[in-house]
Symmetry: C2
Amino acid sequence: MHRTRVRIVQDALDANNTIARANRSDFDRHAVTVLNLMSAPGAGKTTLLERALAAPLQAGTRVGVLEGDVQGSLDADRLASLHIPVTQLNTGNGFGGECHLDANMVRSAIDQLPLGEIDLLVIENIGNLVCPAEFRVGEDARAMVCSVTEGEDKPLKYPLMFRACELVLINKIDLLPHLDFDLEKLIYNLDAVNPRAQRILTSARTGEGVPQLRSWLAELSDRRVATAAAG
Amino acid sequence: MHRTRVRIVQDALDANNTIARANRSDFDRHAVTVLNLMSAPGAGKTTLLERALAAPLQAGTRVGVLEGDVQGSLDADRLASLHIPVTQLNTGNGFGGECHLDANMVRSAIDQLPLGEIDLLVIENIGNLVCPAEFRVGEDARAMVCSVTEGEDKPLKYPLMFRACELVLINKIDLLPHLDFDLEKLIYNLDAVNPRAQRILTSARTGEGVPQLRSWLAELSDRRVATAAAG
């Protein structure tokens, strides 16, 4: 990468972080915890959210979703049936659209978010294992969904994404009997790039791991309350 | 998208196209046909290539591969066992790496490509359904792999990618009995964005569709020969 390009990228990330802090300040003022949820296309983010949010979370945590898509509102339409607030954010105004959410895009949607009525905002990012990991949007935590159909090598091929997340949801495990997939090898590769990441084995189809995900989401929201009480 | 941003994107694409034409001119001089092969992460590009290139192609078409990855050479190492020339191109020099190949990256690898010894160059792009479709690299044709595990909605969510390709390989069809997946719905959605795209149903695991892919690759190479003879 040329030096000029490195500088341009660095400037863009600095500008992004400034706006991310402004977003964070807005979220803080409303005591809303924010999760940035990422994955490759079709790994199962929306279906997992559908399952996890089908019933109210523990301790009455109220959830809203900001749905990022290049185009359309297919995922938002699916989640809207859960009777939780869902806000659509499209990135497709460019030629092929943006391949990630950045802080400014999230900022442009903040006025539409019902921050006074929710405790936890889940931002469903664009399906992509590269750029979404580079841009903070003002979130408290980052999590990703990794489908077992994608192969065991993904942590090694997209290390920044796997390093950026504190939770990795290993999804579609109902398909394991039908795949040439070595779960231990995936875990080994994940350990190599991010040994501290928490892991939950999930199947949006059978519901396996969904209670653990629900608990994790409720605890994430509690984390802010605990921090505030200690402060 | 702001007007300034649109202009910057347009300038970048114009610059890219200029370099893509220079690449194309080099490929033409050596009579090498070039395929830009794209997909989401883990859709099965490398495994399909392993199967398709395990034996020499029809009519003695000699194949080389340019392997694009953010980091590492896992895929190139797999393909190298096929005894065809494989060149690695990494995009990971930036923070999280580039999420696509562009004409300049391919240009930087051209001196390492054995253009005098091959008839067909397959460029395996970074796993991503957004940006790779925006950047021409000097290729004759574009194809993509779409795994049935990714869901039926992908043509509607990533329309530029599906529109950019003349061939869509619908892969992992051995998993169909185990998925809540409606193949007709995927075809319907593909028809909605690109009715002219050729489709081949494939399973890298069982080998289904691989002979058709091999024929398509050989015919792609012949296309150039036919064009040259007519010209």
